[in-house]
């Protein structure tokens, strides 16, 4: 191995990437993913926490109720979100169709302690985002009513659950789990996956454009060529992942253990890149190599995620700063795996280089 040769090859690949400006696409892609996830978050918040939609304005939704007089009337009236009217069902529905009401409720004359359940009918507008909001607000009221009815019928219950009191939930619970449990590992590992598919392209390109013979004819040995390409891809990973974590920090998402996370991702991506390089060296043709590698990657990821204490989980725990993340152990295991793979790749590249020289 010759460090200078490796450096030259890595530089060549970097220049190629820079020339094509495709790296811009990769960055754009990550930005897109980030934007998409933040919109997804906002979208889901507004659905499950409708109060976030109407923070300042106290909107009151018109609700019509008909049928039996029950405690539900009182529960609805207590709410600041609703204005409740006692209306005839037919008139109420006509008003609902004209969007003069947000919902119509019909309560049957079933007694609270009856054998049968109380079956309330809820009329709402079809295909309207407002309906989703009203439904979530009504759900809270109906849950209270359900609790009241359950209380009345409690003598008939054979088992009751353990009681636990929760603190009053606060608004803007945030998306802690989504951000740290999904977004961070996704963003951090995406550069690794991109780098792995990049090395397949870099290696198969030499084969398919028949430029390999020229390269091998120079003093640069074949393993040097491979290592140079691996180096170019590997260097991209911590840079991209680091930029991500910085961007997250700018957005107010503080990720703990920055440095260990970057090391872990670098080693993990090194393994992926070597696996991809081996695949590419074996198939020498992009379609086959990419297909086999990406299918295998899906399988590996599925398996890894299912194992407790997997590297992704370690990253999540490290990012949140949760105790007991077993970082050194994970790093050691990954490091050993990387070294073994590195050795295999080197021997394999040497063999291919010898064969190429013999053939040439």
């Amino acid at each position: 191995m010759n460090a200078r040769h490796i450096g030259i090859i890595a530089k060549k690949e970097f220049l190629g990437l820079n020339h094509e400006k495709t790296i811009l696409l990769a960055i754009l892609l990550q930005l897109f993913v980030a934007m998409f996830s933040s919109f997804l978050m906002v979208g889901l918040t507004s659905m499950y926490d409708p109060s976030s939609l109407s923070t300042s304005t106290q909107v009151r939704y018109g609700i019509a109720i008909d049928g039996a007089n029950t405690t539900l009337d009182g529960l609805l009236a207590e709410r600041p979100d609703f204005t409740v009217y006692r209306m005839d069902l037919s008139t109420g529905l006509a008003a609902l169709k004209e969007r003069k009401l947000a919902a119509v409720i019909y309560v049957p004359p079933t007694a609270a302690d009856a054998e049968n359940p109380v079956q309330v009918t809820l009329y709402t507008l079809q295909n309207d985002i407002q309906t989703a909001v009203v439904q979530v607000k009504l759900k809270e009221v109906l849950l209270e009513y359900e609790e009241q009815l359950r209380e009345v019928r409690s003598p008939r219950l054979s088992a009751t659950p353990r009681e636990v009191q929760f603190p009053i939930p606060q608004r803007s619970e945030g998306f802690y789990e989504f951000v740290y449990g999904l977004l961070v590992p996704l963003l951090v590992f995406m550069p690794a996956i991109i780098a792995a598919s990049l090395i397949i392209d870099l290696i198969t390109e030499e084969y398919q454009h028949n430029t390999l013979e020229t390269l091998v004819a120079t003093p640069v040995s074949f393993p040097d060529v491979v290592w140079g390409k691996v180096l170019a891809c590997e260097l991209l990973v911590p840079i991209q992942a680091g930029v991500w974590l910085l961007l997250l920090a700018v957005n107010g998402i503080r990720v703990q253990n920055l440095f260990p996370i970057l090391i872990l991702v670098s080693i993990a991506s090194f393994i992926l890149i070597l696996l991809a390089a081996l695949t590419a060296l074996h198939y020498r043709e992009r379609t086959a190599a990419q297909f086999i590698f990406s299918t295998a990657l899906v399988i590996v990821i599925l398996f890894v995620v299912a194992v407790p204490g997997n590297p992704l989980n370690v990253i999540v725990r490290a990012a949140t700063g949760a105790p007991g993340m077993a970082l050194p152990e994970t790093l050691a295991v990954l490091g050993v795996a990387a070294m073994v793979l590195g050795y295999v790749t080197h021997r394999y590249a040497e063999r291919i280089g010898r064969l190429a020289q013999l053939g040439g």
Binding site: L28, S46, S90, R162
Partner: protein, 605 residues
């Protein structure tokens, strides 16, 4: 005609033979092994669950038997100690449960932990109640959801009636229209107790995750219209969406193969032989594409049959398949190297996935979700029938864009275009330029802008889906700005490629004429498109921003707007040169947005 068909088939046969020799005996056996492994991995993951968020919270409890409320949630690490120790060391846990009370620190993590614990607790409570002997004592309240279709048309919402849902006064609203007599619903549940219990158990989470996907496709029992209050949240069809991924995933791979096959023809000018045959480029493209199209259909059918889904799911899949193939063709024709191919295709598939998946999350909630054909699949999987109107609405854009892309591909499928070594953007520009005629620049500008309309709508739809989740004034303003920018960018493409090549600059007369031609083409396309479809989206207030011009009586106003805005871009380009392109675009966007704002605000007051 028959001769063309025969040549298509011949090219298709070559393609199959070629791909089998490249993929060869090396790949096929291994891919069978990989497929088996994939099934095993899926099964294993389904069995053991995702362990991504294991142990991110720590909880201290004083009563070990309380651990039951966690239901084995691996996100929590549970520590047991007596109450006084816990009280003293509250800082070292995310949550503490002492004497049946949950205590949490006021940090972000503490709150998130409390929320997760509360969800677990709800599940635990549900699991206890579901097992109750007297189901109607545990679940005394059932709600039947009756969706009502609003009779107000889009025109009516313009006059501000939309806001009247929010009542302020104490007087009950009086309907203006006729009141239809509605019989009150019967007080008795028409569903057997056991069926309801079954539904509850299913919601509480069956241990086998695979079963959830299979039961999704079995006949839904009747309970589904009856819910307990806790089941009342707007349903997110996450399960169906994950399932739909099984349909889309093979499409990614197959389109990759097609992309690569197109690219192969360009490496070392291998495709010259093919081009030298006396068949038209379109025939070559169709022939090369046919095996992949059939392959995708076959895989999709296999997935459908394996899942026991209705075969009609193929209908909304077809335009998606064509869309993927059309893009694969162009990506294969444009990329200069493998790495470029990879990056562009990754980029394309991410954007396409977003467009396809994001709306379908809201399948049950809003009509906007119909812009993705996947929503139709989700609906079909849930046993709903889709109408021809819905089908047209959500697939027309896919059919149209695919057609336009194939057209561009066919026009450019020649030796000069395939084998040159230009940079990416000049290449793309060349592709567009080749589709335009230099002898009839104005005519081609009109045509180009008509053909661009479906893409513009697609981009705007995406913006719509992204923004409509934001709080109201922001979503509206952002949407106005983005929609205007997308339109201005699209309109400038034609003029930019035709008249600003190299250092060339058009004369004033040319610029005015070209702007007018662009404006006319754009308006024609828009009107044509609106005529063919789009009734549903215009019902919402967001539709009015995208398709504002429709509501405005006179045609000359939008024509003037489109012409003026593209002229602004051209003007800036002409005076400032190409470096000012973005500035010109932004200036045009501002003009356009102000126009739209004026009309929207005029409506909404």
């Amino acid at each position: 005609m028959q001769g063309t068909l025969a040549s298509v088939l011949t090219v298709a046969r070559w393609e199959v033979k070629r791909s089998f020799t490249t993929l060869g005996r090396n790949v096929l056996p291994l891919s069978v092994v990989l497929f088996v492994l994939l099934l095993l991995a899926t099964g294993y993951t389904a069995q053991s669950g995702m362990h991504l968020q294991d142990g991110i919270y720590s909880v201290g409890i004083d009563d070990p038997s309380l651990a039951v409320i966690l239901g084995g949630d691996t996100r929590f690490r549970v520590y047991t100690a007596d109450s006084s120790t816990l009280e003293d060391n509250r800082g070292s846990y995310d949550l503490v449960i002492v004497e049946g009370r949950v205590l949490r620190p006021l940090t972000e993590r503490g709150r998130a932990a409390a929320k997760s614990l509360e969800r677990d607790y709800d599940q635990y409570v549900a699991s206890v109640y579901t097992r109750a002997d007297d189901l109607f004592a545990a679940y005394p309240l059932w709600i039947e959801l009756e969706p009502v279709k609003s009779e107000l048309s889009f025109d009516a919402t313009q006059s501000g009636q939309y806001l009247s849902v929010w009542q302020r006064s104490g007087e009950p609203p009086v309907p203006e229209g006729p009141v239809e007599a509605v019989a009150p619903p019967a007080p008795d549940l028409p569903v057997a107790e056991e069926v309801l219990r079954e539904g509850l158990e299913r919601d509480a989470g069956t241990p086998d995750q695979i079963a959830r996907y299979t039961s999704l496709l079995s006949d839904e029992p009747e309970y589904s219209t009856f819910r307990t209050p806790s089941q009342l949240s707007p349903p997110l069809p996450f399960d169906s969406i994950i399932f739909v991924f099984a349909f889309i995933f093979p499409l990614y791979f197959t389109s990759q193969f097609f992309m690569m096959s197109v690219m192969q023809e360009r490496i070392e000018r291998k495709g010259e032989i093919l081009l030298s045959t006396p068949v038209a480029p379109s025939v070559i493209i169709l022939g090369k594409m046919l095996p992949y199209l059939l392959g995708m259909l076959a895989v999709s059918t296999a997935v459908i049959l394996a899942a026991g889904a209705p075969l009609s799911v193929l209908l909304p899949l077809l335009p998606v398949i064509l869309f993927f193939l059309a893009f694969a063709l162009l990506i294969g024709m444009v990329s200069r190297s493998f790495k470029e191919l990879s990056f562009i295709s990754i980029f394309f598939s991410t954007v396409a996935t977003t467009y396809l998946f994001f709306p379908s999350i809201f399948a049950q909630v809003h009509v906007i979700s119909l812009i993705s054909p996947l929503t139709l699949i989700v609906l079909q999987l849930q046993g709903e029938t889709i109408t021809a109107g819905q089908y047209l609405y959500s697939t027309a854009l896919f059919y149209l864009t695919s057609a336009v892309l194939f057209l561009v591909g066919a026009v450019n499928f020649n030796a000069e275009r395939l084998f040159n070594e230009l940079d990416f953007f000049p290449r793309v520009r060349e592709f567009i330029a080749a589709s335009l005629s230099r002898d009839h620049p104005y005519r081609s500008l009109v045509l180009l802008n008509i053909l661009l309309i479906p893409f513009i709508f697609m981009a705007q739809m995406m913006a719509l889906v992204l923004f409509f989740n934001l709080p109201m004034p922001w979503s509206l303003l952002l949407l106005i700005g983005t929609a205007a920018f997308i339109e201005e960018f699209a309109k400038s493409i034609g003029i930019y490629t035709l008249f600003f090549e190299g250092d060339a600059r058009p004369g004033w007369k040319t610029l005015v004429l070209a702007s007018a031609a662009t404006g006319i083409g754009f308006l024609l396309g828009e009107k044509l498109f609106l005529l063919v479809m789009l009734t549903q989206v215009t019902e919402s207030v967001f539709g009015s921003i995208l398709f504002l011009q429709q509501g405005i009586l006179l045609l000359w106003m939008p024509l003037l707007l489109h012409t003026a805005c593209v002229f602004v871009t051209g003007l800036v380009l002409r005076t400032g040169g190409k470096r000012w392109y973005l500035t010109g675009l932004l200036a045009a966007t501002v003009v356009h947005s102000l126009y739209n704002l004026y009309f929207i605000l005029g409506w909404m007051r």
